[in-house]
């Protein structure tokens, strides 16, 4: 009975050596006010000079999001007073941003088991270049505000996603995909915990057929998980309010992660008039493509959209499709592979070093390796089991030197990271499968001889009981028998 409308404003910090309009360095967690140029501090008389790398990052991102790149875009000043905004205005692109009208496709699981995925699209309204502000820390006990301008002037790409999403899960999936794209392009490292990716959600609800409801803006969302929670909470809050006959205020709310709810933000009182004005110190930003590039232009001075387009790396969606095609894995597998930093490379490295089919390898990667990594909160890079070791282990399994149960045991040992090879562990723990068929036959015979009732049941047609016999053989051999072979041998003997 309610349509849920969710739009997003995402600020991604551009991955560059220096800031958007000045030469000071970009670095996370540097000593306060150690990366501040005269321009960043707004010293009078200083002027902005556009950073080419930031423009390229925005063009790359625009192309990856299927946007039209504006060959001419403009810079504007957005005025407001705040301690972390030294100039009293932010330089942004309000009139004509660098890229417009794109789209982002993302996938969601229908159910929780990752077994059925559906693809959705969200329209990208625009991407604009703008300055980041500094950081202010309010010290209420001493009634003071501490200002760190290290971040002031760092380049941002603001990506505006139209309100095409309808719940927290969609918002989270869209942002996750954007994050992967940015990381693949290298235009932003997009790590939310380091403030390189910030998301504000615009949420409203209305009855079908009626006009759109009043929307609220939700800020202070520090992770993708919290994004989903915040959006869903806000939707529910608005519905409750409306159902109780109250109205929604057009306000900004903060997400309180501890309480899991949104609260009104004290800072924003009334509507701000930002008094936008063209930035007079920056001429229009002109970009070229192969057709419009003047012949005698110094190529250091121009950004060529086509040149950038040709050099775009495979985007996540393309990478996933390639993985599915090349290795015959399922689409949902490809999602998980790309979701974990370094996992798809690990997977491909193992494939290279083993005869085991990719469809089997993927199980080891996604179930065994990944669950161990998650359990110990490690990244793929930090894995004590290298692709070489895992490939070695899988080869032993393929060669039928060990059973799959044994292989899991070996994996657990490898995880300890004591430097032992799979072969060493197998020998140590005596996990080798019995290779001598005669020995195995003898054990099978012994088990058959000891299980008269079960044998009769099998011969009578109850095949399931065979598993019990297989289990007994396994026990006799301390798990060192190949169950497939054991089954064959038992069946052969029982049919005699």
């Amino acid at each position: 009975n309610y349509l849920r409308i969710v739009g997003l404003e995402i600020h991604a910090q551009i991955s560059s050596n220096s800031k958007l309009f000045s030469g000071s360095q970009v670095q996370f967690a540097a000593p306060p006010n150690s990366l501040v140029s005269f321009f960043d501090a707004s010293l009078p008389g200083t002027l902005p000079v556009l950073n080419r790398r930031c423009v390229e990052a925005a063009v790359m991102t625009g192309l990856a999001l299927n946007c039209s790149i504006n060959k001419k875009s403009l810079f504007d000043r957005k005025h407001y007073f705040y301690a972390d905004l030294p100039a009293g205005y932010q330089i942004t692109q309000q009139r004509v941003p660098i890229a417009v009208n794109g789209s982002l496709s993302y996938s969601l699981c229908i159910d929780n088991k990752m077994s059925q995925m559906v693809t959705k699209t969200v329209r990208i309204k625009q991407i604009q270049l703008e300055q980041d502000s500094g950081k202010s820390l309010h010290d209420d006990t001493r009634s003071q505000t501490l200002v760190d301008l290290n971040r002031a002037g760092v380049g941002l790409m603001e990506v505006v996603m139209e309100p095409d999403m309808c719940c927290g899960e969609e918002a989270a999936a869209a942002v996750r995909e954007l994050q992967l794209i940015l990381q693949t392009l290298g235009s932003s490292q997009a790590v939310m915990s380091e403030g390189q990716l910030r998301v504000d959600a615009n949420v409203s609800v209305h009855h079908p057929g009626e006009p759109y409801g009043v929307r609220t803006e939700v800020k202070n969302i520090n992770s993708i998980r919290f994004l989903a929670k915040a959006v869903d909470y806000e939707i529910q809050r608005q519905i409750k309010e409306l159902e109780s006959g109250r109205t929604i205020l057009n306000e900004t709310r903060a997400f309180d992660s501890k309480l899991g709810c949104t609260v009104p933000m004290r800072d924003k009182e009334g509507k701000q008039d930002y008094r936008f004005m063209p930035e007079p110190n920056l001429p229009p930003l002109i970009l070229y493509d192969a057709k419009s590039l003047p012949a005698n232009m110094n190529h250091q001075q121009v950004v060529n959209i086509d040149w950038i387009h040709e050099r775009l790396p495979d985007l996540p969606s393309v990478k996933r499709a390639k993985l599915v095609e090349r290795y015959g894995i399922l689409p949902e597998h490809s999602f998980t592979l790309l979701n974990e930093d370094g996992l798809s490379e690990f997977f491909e490295d193992v494939i290279k070093q083993t005869q085991m089919k990719p469809k089997k390898v993927i199980g080891w990667i996604l179930k065994d390796l990944l669950s161990y990594l998650k359990k110990h909160s490690l990244t793929v890079k930090e894995s004590p089991v290298s692709s070489f070791l895992l490939a070695d282990l899988l080869n032993r399994l393929e060669e039928k030197e060990i059973s799959s149960t044994a292989a899991k045991q070996v994996f657990a040992e490898l995880w300890k990271g004591e430097g032992k090879t799979p072969l060493e562990i197998v020998k140590e723990k005596k996990l080798q499968l019995i290779q001598d068929q005669k020995d195995l036959e003898q054990i099978c015979q012994t088990v058959i001889d000891g299980q008269e009732n079960e044998v009769m049941a099998i011969k009578a047609g109850n095949r399931k009981v065979l598993n019990k016999l297989i289990g007994l053989v396994q026990r006799e051999t301390q798990g060192r028998s190949n169950p497939v072979l054991v089954k064959q041998l038992l069946e052969k003997k029982l049919s005699e």
């Binding site: 010293l43 200083t46 030294p86 008094r275 007079p280 110190n281």
Partner: protein, 524 residues
């Protein structure tokens, strides 16, 4: 010596007839004895002498850096100078020591120029009298000239020698006064609506406004970013060409400077204007234009005619809208540019500390004078969402029309425009302050503003003395980036009019009889 042009002094330095340190000492000493002019806010005695010493060493080695080596200069106090206070004549920046040099300052220093000090101005360059700075008004040196004193009617009883002094015009009044009173050989000003040309006219010096984008604004504390240019004040046109040559060119730190390579030029000693077309814009016969200046303007036109130039009347129909247009665009940019003065990072910070907001408010109230605050309020008003279209956008469109007027005229074969620079000669201070800053600016900027709107180069050339014995200048406006042609015409005109040298008691005393009544003809 002191009354010499820069080129002559430069030759004297090279030939060893005078030493840089001696020259520097004389200038410093003259600054002291003309202190009553209030042209300087800061005199950088120690550093100037050091620079002079370095220059001297170079001359002794026979390796001077160029024509500017050892030449004492002054810089308007809205240019950043590392280690030397930069105040913009405002409480907001009193005591502010910038950590960097403006590009133009750096260029002059790199050429060996000796920086004597920072000159006085209207607060943040807002004004046309150089009367509204916190360090007090600048006095026009011509107030103390024999030429003015001879002509001024002594008031009977309450005759205070001082009360009759006239303004310099503004906002670069300190720089104009400094050059006019011989304390330096060239000075930097800034020009946003006429702030270099106006005081140049009132002080009888050459005031050049270069094409927008030719000279770097990096380090010039901005008034209107889209109109500001560094201005050059000298005693003759040749000197202006020399300074221009050392300053012009692309600056990577200023994205509004053009990329094309600038070629410094020397002006011909026999400039020829016979092939030129001189335009006389009829709208510059503005209300309030004194009959004296009108007559001079006409005489000037005749001079060109007689020299064989084509002199025609032209029309710049949108001239009359330039005042209001300027008012909207200027105040809007001012409101924006002044937003950074919040007391946090630098400059004055109020003791009020109840909250950040109250600290901002108190700081800005204490730091800015009424003129600045008035413009900020106006500018913010024009930029409000509901007003933006009707005021700011409209003014931008009108600006385009004003600029197009010039494009049309220059496109029709006119090479240079000849206009008055000011409506009258300099008025006494006591009369000037009867009207407020806004009214004065509106009146005085009318003849100079349009060139800033269109980004065109323009120059004031001192022409003659008025009936009151005060300088009157005429203005030439040229095509974009055609400074060479502009200055050639200006030089020709300068030679024709032979503007008299100021006769100042103080300078006479300092110059040990080397003082010359120089006529322009002897500038060879």
């Amino acid at each position: 010596m002191m009354g010499n042009t820069m080129s002559l002094v430069s030759a004297a330095l090279k030939e060893g007839r005078v030493a840089p340190t001696e020259l520097c000492q004389r200038c410093l000493s003259l600054i002291k004895s003309t202190k009553f002019l209030n042209a300087y806010i800061t005199v950088a005695e120690e550093t100037a002498l050091k620079q002079a010493e370095e220059s001297e060493k170079r001359y002794r080695r026979g390796q001077p850096l160029g024509v500017l080596d050892g030449i004492p200069i002054a810089v308007k106090d809205n240019f950043n100078t590392a280690g030397i206070e930069t105040t913009c004549a405002s409480n907001m920046l009193k005591g502010y020591i910038s950590p960097y040099n403006a590009t133009v300052v750096q260029k002059l220093l790199d050429q060996g120029a000796v920086l004597l000090g920072k000159t006085n101005l209207d607060e943040f360059a807002m004004g046309s009298g150089s009367t509204d700075g916190v360090f007090g008004p600048v006095r026009n040196p011509w107030s103390y000239s024999r030429q003015y004193k001879e002509k001024s009617v002594p008031k009977s009883h309450s005759e205070d020698k001082d009360s009759n002094w006239v303004i310099t015009g503004g906002s670069s009044g300190g720089s104009a006064a400094a050059v006019s009173s011989f304390t330096c050989f060239a000075a930097l000003g800034s020009d946003t609506g006429g702030s270099t040309r106006n005081p140049a006219a009132h002080c009888g010096v050459v005031g050049l406004k270069p094409t927008y984008g030719l000279i770097s604004r990096h380090g010039l504390i901005p008034l209107v970013n889209s109109m500001d240019v560094p201005g050059i004040l000298t005693r003759c046109v040749d000197d202006a060409a020399v300074v221009l040559g050392s300053l012009a060119g692309h600056d990577p730190k200023d994205s509004t400077t053009i990329q094309d390579n600038f070629k410094p030029f020397e002006l011909s000693n026999l400039p020829d204007v016979s092939k030129l077309s001189i335009g006389i814009p009829k709208e510059y016969h503005a209300p309030g234009l004194s009959s004296e200046i009108l007559a001079l303007w006409s005489k000037a036109a005749d001079l060109f005619k007689n020299a064989g130039a084509k002199v025609i009347e032209v029309s710049l129909p949108h001239t009359r809208y330039s005042i209001v247009c300027y008012h909207v665009l200027c105040t809007a940019e001012v409101a924006s540019n002044m937003a950074r003065f919040d007391g946090l990072e630098y400059g004055h910070r109020s003791d009020m500390n109840k909250s950040t907001e109250s600290m901002y408010a108190a700081t800005r109230r204490e730091g800015f004078n009424d003129v600045v605050r008035g413009r900020i309020l106006s500018g913010n008003y024009f930029m409000l969402k509901q007003n933006y279209e009707n005021y700011f956008i409209k003014a931008q469109k009108v600006r385009r029309l004003i600029a197009n007027d010039f494009v049309k005229v220059f496109g029709s074969g006119v090479d240079i425009l000849l206009t008055p620079t000011t409506l009258s000669d300099a008025v006494p201070y006591t009369e000037f302050i009867k009207e407020d800053n806004r009214t004065r600016s509106a009146q005085d900027d009318i003849l100079t503003q349009a060139a800033n709107m269109a980004g065109l180069p323009a120059i004031n050339v001192p022409t003659a003395l008025s009936e009151r014995g005060l300088p009157v200048g005429l203005q030439f406006i040229g095509r974009s980036f055609q400074e060479k042609q502009l200055l050639t015409v200006a030089k020709w005109f300068e030679k024709q009019v032979k503007f008299p040298t100021i006769q100042l008691e103080e300078v006479k005393r300092h110059d040990h009889g080397v003082f010359q009544h120089q006529k322009s003809a002897s500038f060879l």
